[in-house]
Amino acid sequence: MISKTIIFMVPLLIAALGGLFTELAGVLNIALEGMILSGAYAAVIATELSGSLTVGIIAGMSASMLIALLFAFTSLHLKGNIFVTGLAINLLVPSLTAMFSKSLFGTRGVIRLEETLGIHNALFSLLLLLSFTLLAVIVLKYTAFGLHVKAAGINSAFLASRAIKPIKVQTIAIVISGAACGLAGALISLRLGVYIPGISAGKGWIALVAIYLGNKKPVPILIACFLFALAETFSDTAQGLIEIPATVILSFPYFITILGLVLYSIFRKK
C-alpha cells in the first residue's frame, strides 16, 4: 500500500515542485494541468515513433516547455489576465492533442505503446522523490536564481532596482514548471504505456492545492503530496473492496482537493 502510494506520488510531487517556482515568483499557474497533459501526450507519441523511452521523456518535457513559453508569452509579455490565459492552456492542449492524433494516427482517442517505463519499484521512486525535493530546496535556498524567484514574488520592484527584469525571472520560472510538468506527464503516460484523453485527471489542480497546503515550502509539499497520493491509493483500493462504481471514484480527487483547500484556509486563519 505504501509502496503504491510512493509510486503514485512521483508525478504529483514533480509537478507540484515545478509549480512551486511559479507560485513563489508570483505567477498563479493554473496551466499545470494542461502542461502535464501535453507532456503525457508528447512522451507517448515520441516513444511510439522513435521506440526509445528516453526520447519520449525528453519530448514530453520539451512539448510542455513550449506550452509553458506560450503561457508566459501571453500572460507576461502580452499582459493577459494570468487566470484566463492559464485556462486557455488547459483548453488548448486537449484540442491540439486530438488534432495531432487525428492527422497522425487517424484516431482521436487512445494511443497504446508496446513497452512501458518500468517504474514499479518503490525504492527507486522514493529516491526520485527525495532527490527532487532536495534539488528544489537547494535551488530555492542557496542559488542566486532561487532568491530572484522569491524576490519576483515578494517585491518585483526590488528586482528591477537591481537591474534584473522580473518578467525574465518569471518566464524562467514558468518554463521550469513546464519542464517539471512535462516530466510528470511523461512518467504518468509512459508508466501505463498508454495515452488516454484526460489522462492527467486533475493532477495539475491537485499539485496546485498541494503547494498551498505545503505552505509553499518543498518539504511540507512532499508531505501534502503524500497525503493526496495516499487518498488516491485508498480510492484505488476501495474500488476492489467495496462496491463503488468507477465513475464515482473519478470524482474523489476533486472532492479531496476541495477538502484540502478548505482545511488549508481554516488552518491559515488560525
Binding site: I30, L70, T74, H77, L78, K79, G80, N81, F83, V84, T85, L87, A88, I89, L91, L92, P94, S95, L96, A98, M99, K102, S103, R108, G202, W205, L208, V209, P245, T247, V248, L250, S251, Y254, F255, T257, I258, L261, V262, S265, I266, K269
Partner: protein
C-alpha cells in the same frame, strides 16, 4: 478619465482578437483539410446555407446566451464562476428527474417545476463556492471548478447507472414526455422556443443591474469591493448572490437543452456550452446586452467549424481551438492598447474605442 476595465480591455482589443481568431482558423483550415477551397467556403457560408444549419446555429446561440449571461453576472460582481459545465449538467439532470419521475404534472406546471429545479440545482452548486469564499476565504475560482468536476462524475454515474434508459442505445436518461417538450422551429434543427427564454433572461438581468437597488449595489461591489464595504454594503452577500444567480442561469441552460433539444440528459452534452460561456462573457465585457452579439459570434464560429468538418472533411473540431485562442488573447492589455493606438489614428470616427 478613460474608462478601462480591469479584466477585459476595450472593444478595439476584442476586434483584434476576433480578427486573429479568424486568421488562425483559416490557417488551420488550409493546413489540415484535404479540400482547401471547399472547406473555406463551408466555413464562411456554411451556417447560412440551409434552414437546418441556421436553426442549429440559433439553438446553440440560445444556450450560449444563457451561459454567457451567467458568467457575465459573476464577472459584473468581480467573482469567478468556473463551474459552468457541472452547473449545466446538474440543472439538466434535475429538470429531467422532475419531468420523468414526478407524477401528475401538466405541461405548464411541469415546465415551471423543472425550470425551478434546474435553477435551484445550478444555483446551489455555485452558491457553495460563495459560502466557502465568505466563511473560509477559499478562492471561488478554484472551488467552483473542482466542485463542478466532482459533480460531473457523479452525474455521469447517475446517467450510466440508476437513471439509465435501458431501451436506448445511447448513454442517456429516460426521455421526457412529449407534453413537456418545448415548441421546435425549423425542423429537423434543434431550434426551439427556449430562445425567447434566453432573450427574456438578458432583459431581466439588464433590468436588475441598471434599474434596481440590488443591481446597483452589485455593480458597486464589482467595481471596488473595499469601497462598497466602507459604504456599508453587505459585500459578503454580493459574493454569494451573484454566484447563485450565475449558477441558476447555467442550470436553466441545462433545463432548456433538456426540454428543447435532447428531451433527456445525455452523457456529456454540456461540452462546448460551459467553457464557451466564459469566452462569450469575456467578449461581451461586463455588459449583459453585449452577450447577444457575442453569443451570436460564437454560435456562428461553432456552426462554421462544424459544417467545414462535415462537408469538407476537416479533421477536428475547430470550435475548441477557437475558444482557446480567444482565451489566450482576449485579456491582453498590450493588444488592447495597440489596438486603441490603431483606432486612434482615425480620431473623428465614432465607435472603435467604446468600452
Amino acid at each position: 478619465m478613460k474608462r478601462t476595465n480591469r479584466l477585459f480591455g476595450h472593444m478595439a482589443g476584442t476586434i483584434i482578437t476576433l480578427v486573429a481568431v479568424l486568421i488562425i482558423s483559416i490557417i488551420f483550415l488550409l493546413l489540415f483539410s484535404s479540400d482547401k477551397s471547399e472547406s473555406i467556403y463551408y466555413f464562411f457560408a456554411g451556417p447560412f446555407l440551409n434552414s437546418l444549419s441556421i436553426g442549429n446555429m440559433l439553438s446553440s446561440f440560445t444556450l450560449l446566451v444563457f451561459s454567457g449571461l451567467a458568467i457575465t453576472v459573476a464577472f459584473k460582481a468581480d467573482v469567478f464562476n468556473l463551474g459552468g459545465e457541472g452547473q449545466i449538467y446538474s440543472g439538466a439532470i434535475a429538470a429531467t428527474a422532475v419531468l420523468v419521475y414526478l407524477p401528475g404534472l401538466n405541461s405548464f406546471s411541469g415546465f415551471i417545476l423543472a425550470s425551478l429545479a434546474a435553477a435551484a440545482a445550478g444555483g446551489m452548486m455555485a452558491g457553495i463556492s460563495g459560502v466557502l469564499k465568505n466563511r473560509w476565504n477559499v478562492d471561488e475560482l478554484i472551488s467552483s471548478f473542482l466542485l463542478s468536476n466532482a459533480v460531473i462524475h457523479i452525474i455521469d454515474y447517475l446517467i450510466t447507472g440508476p437513471l439509465w434508459d435501458k431501451e436506448s442505445y445511447l448513454l442517456t436518461t429516460r426521455t421526457i414526455d412529449i407534453r413537456f417538450q418545448l415548441l421546435s422551429f425549423l425542423r429537423p434543427s434543434n431550434l426551439n422556443s427556449s430562445i425567447f427564454g434566453a432573450l427574456i433572461a438578458v432583459g431581466l438581468i439588464t433590468f436588475i443591474f441598471f434599474f434596481t437597488k440590488q443591481g446597483y449595489e452589485l455593480r458597486i461591489c464589482g467595481m471596488n469591493r473595499e469601497f462598497a464595504h466602507y459604504g456599508g454594503l453587505n459585500t459578503a452577500f454580493y459574493v454569494t448572490a451573484p454566484l447563485v444567480l450565475s449558477g441558476a442561469l447555467l442550470g436553466l441552460a441545462g433545463s432548456s437543452a433538456v426540454m428543447g433539444i435532447h428531451h433527456a440528459t445525455i452523457k456529456g452534452f454540456y461540452s462546448g456550452i460551459g467553457w464557451n460561456g466564459i469566452a462569450v462573457a469575456l467578449i461581451a465585457g461586463t455588459n449583459p446586452l453585449a452577450v447577444i452579439p457575442s453569443a451570436f459570434i460564437f454560435a456562428y464560429l461553432n456552426q462554421a467549424s462544424e459544417t467545414a468538418m462535415l462537408k469538407a472533411d476537416f479533421p477536428f473540431e475547430l470550435g475548441s481551438l477557437i475558444q482557446a485562442i480567444v482565451f489566450l488573447l482576449i485579456s491582453s492589455k498590450i493588444i488592447s492598447d495597440k489596438a486603441n493606438g490603431i483606432f486612434a489614428l482615425f480620431p473623428k470616427k465614432k465607435g472603435g474605442i467604446v468600452d
